[in-house]
Amino acid sequence: MKDRQQVLSRTKTLKIDGHDVSGREDETILDVARENGIFIPTLCQLDGLSAHGGCRLCLVEVKGSSKLLPACVTHVAEGMEVVTNSERLIEYRRMIMELIFSEGNHVCAVCVVNGHCELQSLAQRIGMTHVTVPYLYPRRVVDASHERYALDRNRCILCTRCVRVCDEIEGAHTWDVSGRGIEARIVTDLNQPWGQSETCTSCGKCVNVCPTGALFEKGKAVAEMSKKRAFLPYLTLMREKRSK
């Protein structure tokens, strides 16, 4: 009986887009929305990794809050009223997407993950048909010094999935972010070429979690690279079990 009460007190009921839903208190709005089949776009979030809240695509409106809140890091609360698809949110998401595209050099037609790219498919899904802001065309260097993998920073959207998977799952912490703002970029170790990294185990997890063609296997031609990510929740689960 006591257990049941505890469970009940940990269960929160709320409304998402007018639907009555419930979730555990340690769940985020994103978790509960997904359990109930409600789509909220995400790019930096990946099951099995800690939440980052960086891409801002999952912003939602919460009644009583003047700010928009990222659904991936906002926990559910009793009586919360969440809106995931207002005109304003749809417009903001499209704008965020346009800014991401204008900031790097995303040329789908000749990209190794064309047709298997999260950025590409999400842009289609949220209805981005054009980029209305000027492209920056930055000059970013490709790091192909690793024996098996390559990094094309032109396609990097700084989601930090690679940083997190390397730190949290592989435990190597080879990747990190260097610089700020428009200068920010991912680096290996202390900003040396990937091929000279002493910590990299060449496990390839970063390559598989990367949502775009920024990290890819060498020797793959255009549109040939698809990423395998199903392994991640299992790895997390098995490691948690073992450490208990």
């Binding site: 490709v142 010094s145 390559a150 060498k218 020797g219 031609a221 549109a223």
Partner: protein
């Protein structure tokens, strides 16, 4: 008073070109130039990219012959990896290349050039196009469309899409051929053969109507260049360079892709973005040579397929030594279509065509790689340098239309001298000058790696540089 005639833009050609005809004090044609007026910068912007990306990147040079670029580029990458690709992959690449040859030649002949023969060179320019042709000669128009479809369909079946398929990759091809696909292609062969055979029959009968054009459309001695195999057979995928002179005598033979720079130099003129390749031993501009269907049929010992060889024997009767009139590019194109269809059938019947071993894998093993192939319009050379990580540091591309640049200029001058006189531009004269360019089927956007759609601008220019008359289409 001296003048200049400008044809700008040049119509029914791929890309954007301009012709200027310079008149002297007496109103006679003194000089004529064919300008290619745009640039795209492919050699430059691929620097810094992984070499594995090159085939797909370079295929973007052209929407008509992306497959040739895929092949030349993939072969350059094979050379960088220092691999010898599986035989089946080679057959499959050849099939796709031939399918493209058929569709591109069909486009050039039926859609772009045939209105000149079937409607007439003096026909109303607003109606001298494929649409009027469909009205006037629906059967021939349908044949053209069907034949082009035949080639495009094979490309799509093999590579997933008609334009810029990604299937040809460094080391081979990405997917083996499925048996049902082979049977589907084989089932299309008889119709394609029937179309090309009847097209050859009617086209040869029209030669008598164009004695003046045959005599004056870039009809002059020049060298001819193309690839042949060790037996001197007509090849489009792999071979060595051969040059023959106007008499049909071989002046250079057995030149491997790696040695192209020993025989080909590239000159630059300030008035065109298109470079002027020339045969080095004869210097610039004397080392003028032509490439493409006419050149290929002039350099070979035989075609290698029975029906095409029978036609080729007739073709050789058109000239002593080499066939010199560029008007006969059209005839050569039809013979190559015939050869292409026969070869596709032959390759599809190879016992190991369905093998699933179609790709070699390797890291870059050489820092320099050259790939050479015959595109519909002539020899295509891709030359890449990479660093040890496989990143492109330098690229040089010689595109088919570039090789023909000197000859196209000479051809325009010859036709202008014959058909243009005085100060007035007549429609028929203009179209003949344009038609000279069209015989070469130039791909202007590709050859300068240049951006743009469209057509022709002719200017008539005096010795003082004044533009006296011009027509724009």
């Amino acid at each position: 008073m001296a003048r200049e005639i400008v044809i700008d833009p040049v119509t029914r050609a791929e890309g954007h070109g301009k012709i200027t005809i310079h008149l002297d004090e007496q109103g006679f044609v003194q000089d004529a130039r064919f300008h290619v007026t745009q640039i795209r910068g492919f050699e430059k912007f691929c620097e810094g990219r992984p070499f594995y990306e090159m085939p797909a990147l370079m295929a973007r040079i052209c929407g008509i012959c992306p497959v040739s670029h895929l092949i030349a580029s993939a072969k350059a990458c094979d050379a960088l990896m220092a691999v010898s690709i599986p035989m089946t992959a080679q057959y499959l690449r050849r099939i796709m290349n031939l399918a493209q040859l058929v569709q591109s030649h069909a486009l050039s002949f039926f859609h772009l050039a045939s209105p000149d023969f079937l409607l007439g060179l003096d026909y109303d320019p607003a109606q001298r196009n494929i649409f009027k042709l469909i009205e006037e000669n629906p059967n021939i128009a349908r044949d053209g469309i069907r034949l082009r479809r035949f080639g495009q369909q094979i490309i799509e079946w093999l590579g997933g899409k008609r334009i810029h398929p990604g299937w040809i990759v460094p080391g081979g091809v990405s997917e083996p051929l499925k048996p049902e696909l082979r049977d589907k292609i084989l089932a299309e062969i008889p119709e394609a053969l029937a179309i090309i055979q009847r097209t050859l029959d009617w086209f040869k009968r029209t030669f008598d109507n164009y004695p003046e054009e045959i005599r004056t459309f870039a009809n002059f001695p020049s060298l001819f260049m193309g690839m042949v195999n060790d037996k001197g057979e007509l090849v489009h995928y792999d071979g060595k360079l051969r040059f023959v002179d106007a008499a049909g005598k071989i002046v250079a033979d057995g030149i491997r892709a790696e040695d192209y720079q020993k025989v080909i130099g590239e000159a630059v003129e300030p008035w065109s973005y298109l470079k002027f390749p020339y045969y080095k031993p004869m210097g610039y501009p004397d080392g003028m040579y032509r490439v493409g269907p006419l050149a290929r049929l002039n350099i070979i010992n035989f075609c290698g397929t029975p029906r095409a060889d029978a036609e080729w024997a007739e073709f050789r009767e058109l000239g002593r030594g080499a066939v010199l009139s560029s008007f006969h590019y059209h005839y050569a194109r039809l013979i190559e279509i015939l050869n292409g269809i026969e070869r596709i059938e032959y390759l599809l019947n190879k016992p190991d065509i369905l093998s699933t071993h179609v790709r070699a894998h390797a890291a870059p093993n050489r820092l320099e790689g050259i790939g050479m192939a015959e595109a519909p319009r002539g020899t295509l050379i891709h030359h890449y340098h990479i660093n040890e990580d496989g990143i492109i540091t330098k690229a040089n591309l010689i595109i088919a239309t570039g090789h023909n640049n000197l000859a196209m200029n000479r051809g325009v001058l010859q036709a202008a001298k014959h058909f243009v006189n005085g100060s007035k531009l007549t429609e028929g004269a203009l179209n003949r000058v344009e038609a000279v360019i069209r015989t070469f089927d130039p791909c202007l956007s590709c050859s300068t790696h240049a951006l743009g759609q469209m057509p022709l601008h002719i200017q008539l220019i005096g010795p003082d540089g004044e533009v006296l008359d011009q027509k724009i289409r």
